[in-house]
């Protein structure tokens, strides 16, 4: 009985050694893969970092203004041309802006010519 038990224990130990070796080897391989993946992540993060920076540069106000001026012919709008939805007249109400010329220190808007 003891002999059988001993044999089983030795067999179990042998199996355990094999299993441990297997796990150890898998761990080593996984570690190598992990290192590679970490390196890849770091490389991708660096690329993303560069791309984000590049995007911020090309989408910056200086670029947008230059593009708007050269390609669309846009310039800064005087504040009289800006409004909000709250300021829009309700149906039937008289519009706050008419054809009367605006004489104001920061901007002058001429009276529109009547259609010929």
């Amino acid at each position: 009985m003891v002999r059988v038990f001993n044999t089983l224990c030795v067999a179990l130990m042998g199996l355990a050694i094999l299993a441990l070796y297997h796990v150890s080897e898998k761990t080593r391989v996984a570690n190598v893969e992990l290192t590679n993946v970490n390196r890849e992540i770091a490389r991708e993060q660096a690329s993303m970092s560069v791309l984000e920076t590049e995007w911020e540069r090309v989408a910056g106000p200086a670029k947008i203004q230059a593009l708007a001026q050269t390609n669309l012919g846009l310039t800064g709008a005087p504040t009289v041309q800006l409004s909000s939805f709250d300021a829009l007249p309700r149906r039937g109400e008289e519009a706050p802006l008419s054809d009367t010329p605006i004489h104001q220190a920061s901007v002058q808007v001429a009276t529109p010519r009547p259609a010929q």
Partner: protein, 534 residues
């Protein structure tokens, strides 16, 4: 008779127990690694990429970031043709050819540094040369996405990543301590760009030596924009031509001239030494001892106090300042903070210059009343002006995002602040600040045109001015101050050759306000013809 276990059996049991213990240890470690330390791999992956934290604006837009670059070294002994290699590397990296050739020919060490902080595209070009003996050493470079627009404000780092100036210098510890956590500053890059754009345009138009501007939230103390031109490209470490890395708004001090009258009037309103409707004699000169105070331009015989401020009368303001007296004036300016160094998150600051208490006599009280004889940093003045308009409470300028109300100690009575807002609005509707009036936005403000002191001498340079404008909007419930300054502007054909603040700084502030007010969601008043702001 029952026998005990033999020595072999005991050894087997002990061996088995050790095996069980070893496996239990492995099992515990397995559970520990798989269940409790799952985040470690991620942490490792991100480690070591950045040395300094990103700087982002109040809306999260990236302003400064460490980017991976490489330093290029060459082993000259591995090169077949050193001359050609030096020529090619010099062409691609921008390194000085004679220096490179000399370094290759007479190398004292096995490696020669060719260039630092090469970007990936330059690295690719170098690689395509196919030269032997190239070594690329990983490094990082601080990159500023908006270039010149926020150059002095953000500052720069040295090649080793230490903050040298601006916020990079002032926030150095914070940026280095937690490099993975972005530092969010109070600046709004949209406002910063507009201010930079307009200030640079005005500097060119009026051929000024330098110019600057600040936009500040008067309730939170947040600086939304700060500009100083001439500026420089922070991504290119060398200053070239007209470039300057000096921040005139924080590191310089100026005799600001008539914008200081705002503080004199605040004192008078606080102490009730005058009322807006009291009439003052103006005349052609105001004599104090052996000195005579003159006006910058012709003025009528009398003005009300309101008109004294609106038309920026030195004589009227001197009389108002003298009513308070030197002791009270000094104590008041001290309480407003302009007699102290203003420390912010910037690494730059300026020590104010003013007379010692024993020399603060009658003439000093009069001249300081209209902004001469005292030099302060523009940022320090802006902090004081914020107290005047924000209900009278002290607020510390900050460059870190802090959207909550930052007002503290009550320095002025709220009624004083209210009266001052009315007076500042009157300056823009009826006085020297008309060109800052913007349709739809009620702007208040004050112009300042100060003759520059003679360097290292006594007296002032005639017609050599520092012009400035303090703008506040919306004036009925102020949220923002726009302060602009032009150092030595020249009149143009459009201004009739006049270089005073009303023709140079006021329209500049007006343009800035008209562009930033819609972005900042400042409520806009409908413009009704015939009822404009004029």
């Amino acid at each position: 008779m029952k026998q005990g276990p033999t020595i072999y059996q005991r050894r087997i049991v002990i061996g088995a127990a050790l095996c069980v213990a070893a496996f239990a240890l492995v099992g515990v470690r397995l559970v520990d690694v798989t269940l409790f330390r799952r985040g470690e791999a991620t942490a490792i992956a991100g480690d070591g990429l950045f040395a300094r934290a990103d700087i982002v604006d109040r809306n999260g837009e990236l302003l400064a970031r460490d980017l991976p670059v490489v330093d290029l070294y060459v082993r000259p002994h591995a090169l077949y043709d050193k001359d050609q290699a030096a020529l090619d590397l010099s062409r691609i990296t921008g390194t000085d050819y004679p220096r490179l050739k000399a370094a290759f020919d007479h190398a004292k060490s096995p490696y020669v540094l060719v260039a630092r902080q090469l970007t990936p595209d330059i690295q690719d070009k170098v690689m395509h040369l196919g030269l032997p003996g190239l070594e690329f050493e990983p490094n990082i470079k601080r990159y500023y996405t908006n270039g010149r627009a926020a150059a002095q404000l953000l500052g720069v780092t040295d090649p080793d990543g230490n903050g040298q100036s601006g916020l990079e210098g002032g926030l150095d510890v914070q940026l280095r301590t937690a490099p993975t956590i972005p530092v969010q500053i109070s600046v709004d890059m949209r406002v910063q760009y507009i201010l930079a754009n307009e200030v640079e345009a005005a500097r060119k138009t009026f051929r000024a030596l330098s110019a600057g501007g600040v936009v500040m939230d008067v309730n939170t103390g947040e600086i939304l924009a700060m500009v100083s031109v001439p500026d420089f490209d922070p991504n290119w470490r060398h200053l070239s031509g007209d470039d300057s890395d000096h921040n005139i708004m924080a590191a310089d001090r100026y005799e600001l001239g008539s914008v200081f009258k705002v503080l004199s009037f605040a004192l008078a309103m606080e102490d009730h030494t005058t009322t807006p409707d009291e009439v003052f004699p103006i005349g052609n000169g105001f004599r104090i001892g052996k000195f005579t105070i003159h006006e910058a331009e012709h003025m009528p015989a009398t003005y009300t106090a309101r008109e004294v401020l609106a038309h920026s009368s030195n004589i009227g303001t001197a009389q108002i300042a003298l009513r308070s007296g030197g002791v009270r004036q000094r104590q008041f300016l001290d309480s407003m903070g302009v007699l102290h160094i203003l420390h912010t998150e910037l690494s730059e600051f300026a020590r104010p210059l003013y007379p010692a208490a024993k020399n603060w006599g009658t003439i000093e009280t009069a001249t300081i009343g209209f902004g001469h004889g005292i030099s302060v940093a523009p940022l320090s003045y802006i902090a004081a002006a914020a107290i005047v308009v924000n209900g009278g409470r002290r607020v510390a300028p900050t460059f870190l995002k802090h959207p909550a109300d930052g007002r503290g100690e009550q320095v002025l009575k709220p009624e004083t602040s209210l009266k001052m807002r009315e007076l500042l609005r009157y300056v823009v509707t009826n006085g020297t600040g008309r060109k800052a009036d913007i349709a739809g936005y009620d702007v208040g403000g004050k112009t300042g045109s100060a003759e520059k002191p003679i360097p290292n001498g006594h007296g002032y340079q005639a017609h050599v001015l520092v012009t400035s404008f303090l703008g506040v909007f919306p004036i009925d419930d102020p949220r923002y101050i726009v302060f602009v300054l032009l150092d030595t502007p020249h009149g143009t054909k459009d201004t009739g050759g006049i270089a005073l603040a009303g023709s140079t700084a006021a329209p500049l502030a007006g343009r800035v306000i008209s562009r930033i007010a819609p972005i900042l969601n400042v409520p806009r008043r409908p413009v009704v013809p015939g009822h404009e702001n004029t």
